[in-house]
């Protein structure tokens, strides 16, 4: 855990040999790309259906969830992405990404949908306007080391979590802000913006563990 390796890739990189997509319709794509690259992953942006092929994992970035939803459905990406999630693709969603991963949305704009996958009800802008956006220290029992410095930016919260999902972090007032279910992890906050790499490491290790042992024809160049 001590190979911080901010510049350059550490000798053992958690992302080595993994091909990770970042959904790049709108939002903080660059910050996720930078984090994943620093962890040794091969990163590609995803805006079209064919770009989902051959991925070991996908990041749904922060952004405006209603816009990302609209672009997903307007570009024919919605169904293929739902299919990929149901087929077991490892996904990390932050902020808008958490909203997309939730089975239920408390206050979307008219017609807004989610991809689903985490048995959760999520509320958008749960803290209010930007004036109420904040940073805080967050205890995350599943991660080793010190508390997480987390930035909540017009952030959502998880209002209800079903039995199939596992809570990962709560605020001191008890509100749930991170959860996972199977290969899906959703966070209200932005580790990609604060240089906090532990969630991305956890995501990459899930992606590695779930990596399909049978490849449908795709020769994995240099995977070893």
């Amino acid at each position: 855990m001590s190979t911080g390796g901010s510049a350059g890739v550490p000798a053992y990189a958690p992302g080595q040999g993994l091909r990770i997509g970042v959904l790049a319709l709108q939002g903080d794509v660059r910050e996720h790309e930078r984090m994943l690259t620093s962890l040794g992953a091969q990163v590609t942006t995803v805006r079209r259906e064919h770009e989902l092929e051959g991925l070991d994992g996908l990041v749904l970035p922060g952004g405006e969830s209603s816009v990302i939803d609209k672009l997903l459905r307007g570009t024919g990406m919605y169904e293929p992405l739902v299919a990929a999630l149901r087929a077991g693709l490892s996904v990390l969603g932050t902020c808008a990404g958490l909203i997309l991963l939730a089975d239920r949305l408390a206050d979307g704009i008219t017609g807004q949908q989610t991809l689903g996958g985490i048995d959760a009800t999520v509320r958008r802008n749960a803290f209010g306007t930007q004036r109420e956006s904040f940073e805080t220290d967050l205890e995350v029992p599943a991660l080793e080391g010190p508390p997480v410095r987390a930035a909540f930016i017009r952030a959502p919260v998880i209002e209800a979590l079903g039995p199939a999902a596992t809570p990962l972090a709560t605020l001191p007032d008890g509100r749930l802000v991170a959860a996972e279910q199977g290969a899906l992890m959703g966070l209200s906050f932005h580790p990609e913006s604060t240089g906090e790499s532990r969630f991305h490491r956890r995501f990459l290790s899930t992606a590695r563990a779930r990596r399909a042992p049978v490849c449908s024809g795709g020769a994995e160049m240099g995977a070893d």
């Binding site: 660059r30 952004g63 306007t129 004036r131 904040f134 909540f152």
Partner: protein
């Protein structure tokens, strides 16, 4: 345990990071705000008159009526921005009190101070400011701006100034990256910007905050060009609601911004959009009516 803080640099710049790849649209009432949200705007800018009308009507342009801003806030759930005059820190205080998500200290309104911009570090609400070149951008960042938009020439529908400003800023950044460490001191002097910010830009090859483009963007192709020139996103002011079919044009500009490098998408969304804003050629504008020259 919790060391909980609002209004940090991270939180202020962070919201702009989340807007990247998106389109921010000028709206003058709740109905327009809903159309913008439905079309996929990533945020709206609430104002009483779009720049084209400010230009046509003349007179002093000021912060919008708080009631109008509140109606727009009530109508949408995406971020709402609003403009204060340059240097008018009390208008900014009012906007912060209203809970707007971003304050645009804007040259589109009549300046309230011809020497000083607002000290933006004093505020919890983040600020976006206009810039025509790198030095101006860095001075605004030094004053606390958490997002920069190149100015262009608002209310014209003529994209040429927006092009010039985004090209200038990007070129000046590239030039800094090529300088040796000892040359950066003179570069800071020439840019009239603080040395630490100049050194940071030279090292990273980018501004420390998100860079959008504004001023004269009226078509999907305009928006896509700004993105290809290196903008992180676009503001569209008069171009949408002075056009023939605002909802369709707004949605088309959103698509074109996301797929800015794909001509087939730009072609598809540009088809049958109806009448674009008529506009004014910037070259025909007498110097006193050039808004981009406001700000120092």
């Amino acid at each position: 345990m919790s060391d909980t803080t609002t209004g940090t640099v991270q939180v202020k710049r962070g919201l702009a990071e989340m807007l990247k790849g998106g389109v921010i649209m000028d709206v003058v009432d709740a109905e327009q705000a809903r159309i913008a949200e439905d079309a996929g705007a990533v945020a709206v800018m609430a104002l009483e008159r779009v720049p084209a009308d400010i230009r046509a009507e003349g007179g002093v342009a000021r912060m919008s009526d708080p009631q109008l801003i509140e109606e727009i806030q009530a109508a949408v759930s995406i971020p709402v921005m609003a403009k204060s005059r340059i240097g008018h820190f009390v208008e900014a205080q009012v906007l912060q009190d209203l809970g707007v998500d971003y304050v645009d200290e804007s040259e589109v309104l009549s300046p309230a101070d011809h020497a000083h911009h607002i000290d933006k570090w004093d505020f919890t609400v983040p600020f976006v400011c206009g810039a025509t070149n790198l030095g101006e951008a860095l001075r605004r960042i030094a004053e606390g701006a958490a997002m920069i938009r190149s100015k262009g020439e608002a209310g014209t529908g003529d994209v040429s100034e927006a092009t010039r400003h985004i090209r200038t800023i990007r070129a000046e950044i590239r030039r800094l990256s090529a300088l040796s460490k000892d040359e950066l001191y003179v570069a800071a002097k020439e840019l009239q910007a603080p040395y630490p910010l100049v050194a940071e830009v030279a090292a990273t090859g980018m501004l420390p905050v998100v860079l959008f483009t504004a001023g004269g963007i009226a078509t999907p192709a305009d928006a896509a060009m700004m993105m290809q020139l290196g903008a992180d996103g676009v503001f569209v002011g008069s171009g949408i609601f002075t056009s023939g079919d605002p909802a369709k044009r707004a949605a088309a500009i959103v698509r074109a911004t996301t797929f800015h490098d794909d001509p087939s998408v730009i072609t598809e969304v540009s088809r049958g959009l109806g009448k674009a804003m008529v506009g004014i050629n910037v070259a025909d504008l007498p110097a006193p009516h050039r808004l981009a020259e406001r700000g120092w």
